[in-house]
Structure formats: C-alpha cells, structure tokens
Symmetry: D2
Subunit: 342 residues, 4 copies
C-alpha cells in the first residue's frame, strides 16, 4: 500500500513536522501541499531542507484536486478556516484536522470559546484523535480531530486514573510549560529571540486558554461527571518540548497509581511510566510521552509530571499515528525515531 | 559612612553577584574575600571582569583577620560549612548568611532536612532576612539568615494574604521554575549546556526539596497555624530568573487580593503588583519582585504568579538590602539597577 | 549640571539601551521621547520595566518642542528618516545620531550604499563618534555620527596598529559575529527564536553589508591610503554581544602589537588588551572593549579578537560616552557598570 | 546482511550519536558497547531514551569478546587510549576510529601535536575516512581514521578547488564556529550553561588547535604542495552545529568555483552547493554538508561558507557512511534523516 497524502497549510510548524515524518514514512507519498502565504512557490523554496529531495509545488486549495489526488488530508489551517475547507472534502477523503474545529463535541462550547461553527453536523462524526484512548474509534473514523498539545500532555496521564476512580475529579491543578514553537511560525514579539530568550513567563493566567474546554471535556468523559480544572500555560525559552506538572487528590498510593498507568499503556509503545522526573529533551523529535508519579508523603495528594514534544506527540506525530490506525497500518510506522541527543 | 565588607566564598555565583552589587554600592568597600577553591589567587584572575578595577586577593578564611577588618561579612559558603565559620565571627561582626544554616527556627527541623546543627544557640539570635516582612527586626539584627530563592518568590505574595486571612492555609500548590544558576557554579551534567539547553525538566518531585520546610515555617508564622504545601521545582534552560505559579483557595475577589498586596507593599519599592503576567526578563539583574493575581471565574481559587531574579532578590541583592537596613542606610542603596533588556 | 535629554525612536533596542543608561546617569534627565509606532502611549506601557520609575509620554516628533526642551538629542531613527529630523534640530541642539546618516564623509559613498543624502551640507560638520580615536573632536562637536557596532569592534583594534604602520593595509580579513539584537526589535523570521535559536548562520556574505564602507573609510584615515577588506557578518543565537576575529599581515611580533595597543589605550578606561581570548559575556551590558592578539608562529600574520556589547559600546553606551565628552563631563560617567554575570 | 557492531566508549556524545543512527540502521545490529565510566551498568540507564528499546549492558573492554562478536567496531575513545585498544583488534575486525590517532600520516607530526605513537605500523594501513574524497580507498579499508569535525567542514569545500588549481594554496584563512557538544560530555566550566550560554568566544587563537595539522595534511595532498593556514575555532552557545567561513585567493569567478564543486559532488548526495548563506539548523541531526560561495567584487578573493552537524557529518554520521562503504552497502543507508526543524 502507498497512501497519497495531502497537507493543507504545509509551511507552518505543524505542516513542516508532518512533512518531516511523512517524507520518511514507508507507506506515505506526499502528493499535495497547499499554502495560503506561499502559494505558487516550490515547497523546497520555503522549507529549504527539502531541496533536492522533495520537489513539489505549493498549490492553492482546490476541492476537486484534493478529492482526486489524495487518500488522506491533514489540515494544518487555523481554526475557523479549517472547518470551511474540511467540510468540502470530508465526505470524500479521510481527514485529520489539526485545528481545534472538531475537538469540542458541544457546539455551544465551541461557540463560547471560538466562534459560530459553520458545519455542526460534522461534529458528531469527528473522532477525538488521542490514539491511546480512542484507538478503536479512530480505526474506523473518516474525520479525526487531532488533540491539542496541552490536552495530550494532560489527558494521557489523567484519563486512566480517572476512569479507574483512583484520583479525585475535583482539585486538579495543571501547570503546563511549552516551547515557543507551540505559538507557530507567525511573527510576534512573543517569539522574538531577544524578548523570549533567557526568559520564562506565564500567559493566559486564570482560565482563558482555549485548551481548557478540550481538557475538561475529555476529563469529564473519563470521570463520568463534569470536571473543572485550574490551568496555567507558560512559555519556555526553547523551540520544542512540553512538560505538564499535575497536582491531584488521591487516596491511592504511588504503586497503585503507577500500576494503573502501566497496565493501561501496556500495548501503547509511545507512552511509558518512568522512575525519574523526565526532561523534554528525553522526547524531543519523537512521538513519545513519559509519565512520572510521586505521592505526597503526608497528604492525600499526588504530583504527576508528563513530557511530550509539542510538535510530534502534541501535533503532527499523533496525526500520523491516527493515519496509521485509519488505514490499518502498524501504529508506530514512520514514528520510531529516537530523540535528537544532545 | 563607608562599610568594610567581607565575603566568604566569593567566587561562586552568589559571591560574584554580591561583588557586582557591592562594587558599585556607594557606601561599601570590599576589603576581604575568601575562597576555598581559589585561595591564593587574585580575585580578578577568577572573575576576570574585575581586572583593572578590583585588585584584591582571595584569602584563606581567618577569624582574626575578619574580625579586625570587616564591619559586615556575607557568607556564601555551603550549608554545614557556613555555620562553622559564622559561629566564630558572629559575636564580633555583623553577618548575613546566605546558606540555609540559620533559616530554620526549629533545630530538629534543620536536623531532619540537613544535618546536626553545630551552633543551635545562634539560631535564636538569627533574623530571617526577608526585608519586606521582617524589616524592623533586620534593622537591629547582628546575624541575618538570608532567605532561599524559592522561599522569597513564594513568601512575598503569600505572607500578606495569609496574615489578612484572605486565602486558605490548606490546598496551597506551588509550582516553581528556576534558571540554572540556582544550582551554582559547580560542575554537573545538570548544568552542561548540551544536557539542559533546549530542555525543561522537573526535579525533586514530591516533597524532597530542602526549601519546603523554610517555606512552610514562614507560611505558618503568617497563618498562625501549621501549613503544608505541595511544591515542585523545575529547571529552565537559562541562567537567571525564577517564576512561581501558586494556586490557592480563596473566597476573596481579585480586587481584594490585589488591594491587600498593594497596601502591604506600599512602602516597599522592590515589590509591585502588575496587571499582566510577568516574565523573568522583567526583573533580570534587579532586586525586584513582580506579582500577578488572577481569580478563577467559577471556583473559590486564585492563581498567583511571582517573578524574581534568583541571584538578586533571591540571594545577593536581598542580602545587600539587609545590609542597608542593618546599618541604617537607605534600603534601596546600590540596588536601583534596571533589568538588562533585551 | 543636569542635561535635558531627548530620544527620537525611544522604543527600539538602541533607544531602550539609552534609556537604561541615562535613567541612572547622574547628570542626565530624560525629558523627551518620541516613537512613531507607539506615539501617544506612555513609555512605561511599552518598556514595562519603567513602570513606577519613569513616567513620561511617547510624543510625536516636533522640532519646536525638541529645541525648547532639550540640551541634547539622541536619534535612534532608521537611516534616511534620521537625517530628515536631524537637519531640523542640529543647528539648535547638540545631536548624537545613531543611524548611518552622518557616518560616511563622502556623499557619493552614502548614495552608493544607501540613498540620496538630503542634507549633505551637514556631513562636513558631523564628527565620527568613536571616542577613543576622535576624543578631542567630539568634545567640540555639535553633531556626532555614532559608529556602527561592527565598525566599533573592528576599528578599536586596527586603527592604532595601522597608524603606527605595524600591520599591512592589504590582506585584512574581518570575520564578525553578532547577537540578534543587532537586527533590532522589528519582526522577522530572522529573529524568531524557533528559526535562529540553536543555530548559527552567515549573512550578507561577499561585500554587501553596509558597514563595510564605514570600516574602510576609517581604516583608510588611519593608514593614509585606501583600504579594502574582506568582511563577513554572522548571527549568534543570543541577544547581546559581538566578537570580531581579524586576520592581518604584520612583521611585528606579538609584544610589539600588544604594546602599541596598550600605549594607545592608556587613558581609555573602556578598552583593554587581555591575555586570554575573550567572551562576549565578559562585556555584556558594559561599555567595554577587550582585545586579544596572537601572532602566527611561522608566517607574517596575526589574529586579533575583539569583543563588545553591540548595544552598549556598539551603540548606546558609546553615544552616552560622546555626550559626556560633548558636555565636558567625566568620560565614564554613568557607564561604570559591570557585566551581568552569570 | 546484518552487521554486528561494537562501540568503544559508547556513552559520550559521539557514541550516543552512533547509537542513535545505528539503532535505526536497517543492516546493523548493536551487539557490544564498552564504557570505562559506566562499566557494568545497562546502556539504557545512562542514555535513558533507550529504555524499553535497546537492552544491552555496558561492558569492560575485552579483545577476545570484540573479535568474536563484532564485524565492525567504532572507537569513540580519546586519542592515546584509542590506539591502544585498536591495535589489539584491527587485524581481526574492521575498525572506524573516531579519535585522532590514525588521522596523521606522519608519525612525527602526531608526536609533535599529541604524544608518542604506540603503533606507528598501523598508520600506513589507515585510510582517512572523508568519504567524498577517499570513497574507493574506504571501500577496501580495514582501518578507517574518521576525520575531525573542523577538518570535515574545511576539506569538503577546499579539496576539489585545490585539486583543480582554482584557488591559491597560500593565504587561506579559516574561521570556524562550533556548538558546545564538540567539547564532549565531560564536565568543565566551558560547558556550564551559565558560563557559555548567551555568550560567544574564540579559543585556541593562534595555531594551537590540534585539527590544524590534519587540515593542512589533506590540503597539501590536494594541492600537491605544503599548505599553511590561519585557523581560529569559536564556541557558539548551542549544542550541535558547525559553520566554517573560509577566505581564499582565486582568479576564478563565482560560477567557476561553484561549477567545480557541483561537478565534484555530483554523485555525493550529502554535499550540496547552495545559493543562500546556510545556517547550521539546515543540517542539524543530518549527515549533510552545505557549501556557499561568494566572490569578492574587486579583489581576487572569495569567501566560502560550509555547514555541517559536528556530531553527524562531523563525526558519527560520517563513521556510519564509512561503514556502509566498507561493507558494500548503499552509502546513504540509515543516514537519510531530515533536519529537526524547527
């Protein structure tokens, strides 16, 4: 089998990461790339490391072309724009949407955090693409809503524990830290090396980050009841990497918590429970997630630390993992890279 | 007035920061520097930016010399070593000890977290050098225990709120992030640029960091009852800077919380309440602390973010602030620098 | 004395560095700041670390106001724009222009590298503000053309050696490396932390950088004959700092070369000859220049390394040094800071 | 075919990079790893990203074991130590030595720059492992001396031009910049993030770096006459990457210089001539070398810029490329990775 793959918005960071993975994927062939900003140029003129290896133009989006040429399309367009394009192709090609447009099951929640939804009828058909949690649904999905990076880093450790009732659904505090690539390739003082280099900052403090409803939706699914979290994102002076430190109430001991996670992820090669607090460098450029658990010695509380690469497991790597599942391929195909160390 | 100042352990990062500040301090004269590692060398051969400006030798520690030559001594020695030296000079010269040796009021707590204390009789005489909280005591102190960096970043925002009963003493979660200089100039894979650069990590997860008893001691003083916190320190790939994100229970609203802090710090020029989440770069190289407060919109919880420079307000700048108070000088003397931007 | 100081273009990096230095300068009072981009805002809303300390508006440029209010004006405007504004105020107030508009003595050279010059009559009145070389002229100047950062790092080591005929005027190779702040606060992929972080690059390879005519003009003045150099600028993944590695022909030995520089800079406290190859961190945030010289053991060639902070001695620090000279103040006033270490 | 591969000194940075490449190499099986420092531990306990994937012990070096178990051995030991071990196994197994011990053809040059050579008889059998230059010799070699990182970045652009007589053998200036990983995983203030972060420095200025004789030896081979260069290495505040800026005399024009390189590297997929000055990020984590050429507009001089990843094409990637050649495999096997971007 060789899948014909299209990428909408190929020149941003999630697009570039998809290209990096798919170019070496043994069953994928990149046949279509669109870009609004660089439409008409050659891909290799924008992402110059493809010079001499990937000779493909950046085309304007065209529904007809996409339908005829692609087996699967990844949309790396911004939310709002993405659903417009996806609506036109979803009935005909398989789609993994990396925007937020199909992640929220409740259209009123989408409206409250983003805008009016232009194709609510598709919401019910979309599967949330967190592979380790929704593996079987993804296998049969036509439209996958690829999870956000923060949600991925939070849900992988918490969903199994909530499902088994080992942690409280109340009192969850999530303190997350992300490399700057999470903010994309667009220009802003917040990505200027002289402004954010050698500096660490919090942003959107106090329940204003749009990943909150997505996290709470999935935690609620796992807990079987509404969940409200405290969540603060931070910016780390580096390009890639995400670490979430999560504080939860629990009467279970450390061994029970770790045992639950180990059992849950037994058949999931990308997720591991580790014995030392991890670094983001341990997973840089990989599709891995490492989870560390420590029980408070005197209180019914535990601290959980998870790390992912925000562009790989937090975005494009997970999207390829979804593709593998959607086409019956080995889940890890094309995703077996080791971290770039040092 | 011109104070004759001595520094024990002058060539580590807190020693170097003291030298940087005191060299330009209008009322201080550096007359004595000791170093165990570089004993016998010229200071300017170790900290080369002093070449041509500060011509002083690195001497071996000698009690007699210190007593005769210095009005005040800063000890930057490691804990354990520091109390040995301080015991011999404290009765004769004023001392600001930057180690942990005199921070814990209860000798059994010191023993549990560090080791046997060699001069417990001095513990009762030491004043905790958090200037904005203990200003009057410091003015009359002979021995000041300079606070740790993490405690400074946590206590400045929390002590006023606990004293006024505006936040709960239970359920406090402290998630702190520090630049690597906090780990000192000593060599370790944990400070190798290829290991920690472009990476973010948690360490001592789960109540094992030695700053915890110091934080809890002072929070208990403010609350009038024991306080137990959840605390996780993290390492940021940068040299200087510290940010603490603190989650607390409260029924007060944002204006009350901010108002309390603003009133408390009215006469304290180094501490400000700000309207945007701060960056560590806002305070780099300064003695400032910025505090941001955000109330959770639906729960009785608030998120507080504070930033300091771990080497300045978190160590040497605060030590000089203590010196200013101990000698009746203007509190801000020699500490009015602006952040190095960009 | 207290000088009333104005800054045109106060919110870029050279403007911010001027403000940082002048705010603590004992004889300067900042009375006027203009900004095209942030006109109407308070300065402290753009450069937030001035909150609570420098309460001044960002005004639109107005000749009348500047003439009435200021003793001296620093122009941090881009070339082209700068000469327009300077022409209107130069006859009435002292001006230090940090743009390139008055650095080239020959108007046809300016035209060839930049554009048509709008006030060539002022060119002859401008003094090139390299203090250690043109100290006496600067003392009596009304209009100073502040040198570029690359030229400063190249001219300080080479001018004395060329004047004494110790090095050849032919065969000079200059390989320079700059922190990203040299490119300014404007937004570009070339300052995006994900693009330039963890990366090193050359740019404008092959005689296209606009600092070349400025360097060659001053080298020719020193040599008494035309000089043509090879020059390559590079971008270092850091904010501040500049290092130039210069390869020259010479029959002199190391001692003669160093001796010449040491004699020349005897009364110049900011310039030092050092015995170990320097780092940019040695001068970060200071007005210093360090020079290292090594003779080739078998060929009549020598390698010279110089370091400066591109924003301080390479721009705003030098501009303040000029101001001190222009008003008969101590040359080092307000410029005695130590590097921020570590 | 499946090659059984051993690595001596597996836990340093070149060892780790070999493991990263070989682990995914379709024809290699890692069967033996030695480490003096971590002898007895599991590899995955030192390089933790191998947990769960590469379960192999770190053994003490044993000649007998190596001979029996390995088809090829990579030595990542330091010079001096390496030749001792290699002497015992070279007659029996193929060896790629990443140290400097077999790079210099003249034993007296080795003695002058390093120490007495313990097995000079092997020197004549060693092939210099610069694949694009010595491809055919490497195919039949039993012992390959893997080139140094600086030499690789200099020789790839210069050897073809010297061979064709397009550039002068005199007057070559090489200004090289390296990421800190080039200095290895050992601990030193020169790799402490607080010392070298946010700083740029020159080191070993003035003909003292040990890569000089290696570069001059190979340039002389290409020129057919002795060559003496000026060479200065620099340290960039990043982990990986190397850029060399090379200044040469030439009467050829830009097109001739580029044409010569393009012809020479026609069958060499890792080396490309590019039209824009390259960044080290363009090749990070890859075995590529990019070369840019610019002619001086008025002088018979040209500037050449080359970039490699010092740990890949500059060390372990090139070593694997040698292995591929030595065993008749496709030269690019296991080396087709794209740069980690961003």
């Amino acid at each position: 089998m060789s899948l014909s793959v299209g990428i909408l918005g190929a020149t941003g960071y999630t697009g570039a990461e998809l290209l990096r993975i798919l170019y070496l994927h043994p069953q994928a062939r990149i046949v279509y790339c669109s870009s609004r900003q660089y439409n008409g140029k050659a891909l290799a003129d924008v992402l110059t490391f493809f010079r001499g290896s990937l000779d493909i133009p950046l085309e304007e989006f065209d529904e007809e072309t996409v339908r005829n040429r692609c087996d699967i399309v990844f949309s790396c367009l911004p939310h709002g724009a993405s659903m417009e394009f996806v609506a036109g192709i979803a009935p005909f090609v398989k789609v993994v949407d990396l925007s937020a447009d199909f992640r929220l099951r409740d259209v009123s929640v989408y409206r409250a955090w983003y805008q009016e939804h232009s194709c609510p009828e598709l919401l019910g058909k979309a599967v949330y693409g967190l592979c380790e949690i929704y593996r079987d649904l993804i296998r049969h999905a036509g439209l996958v809503a690829n999870p956000g990076c923060y949600p991925t880093s939070v849900l992988l450790p918490l969903v199994p524990l909530l499902r088994e009732g080992l942690i409280d659904k109340d009192g969850i505090v999530v303190d997350s830290k992300s490399g700057v690539s999470g903010a994309g390739r667009g220009l802003s003082l917040r990505s200027h090396i002289c402004e954010v280099g050698e500096s660490f900052s919090a942003y959107k403090v106090g329940r204003s980050h749009r990943h909150i409803p997505e996290i709470e939706q999935e935690l609620a699914m796992a807990a079987g009841a509404p969940v409200t979290i405290e969540f603060t994102p931070h910016l780390v002076p580096m390009s890639r990497g995400m670490l979430s430190t999560i504080y939860v109430g629990t009467t279970a001991d450390e061994a029970e918590l770790k045992g639950c996670l180990e059992r849950f992820y037994l058949g999931s090669p990308f997720v591991s429970v580790v014995d030392e607090p991890p670094s983001t460098k341990d997973v840089r450029g990989t599709n891995r997630c490492l989870i560390f658990v420590a029980k408070h010695p005197s209180r019914p509380r535990a601290t959980i630390v998870s790390v992912i690469d925000n562009l790989t497991k937090g975005a494009s790597g997970q999207a390829v993992q979804c593709m593998n599942l959607m086409f019956g391929l080995e889940e890890t195909l094309g995703l077996d890279s080791l971290p770039l160390y040092p």
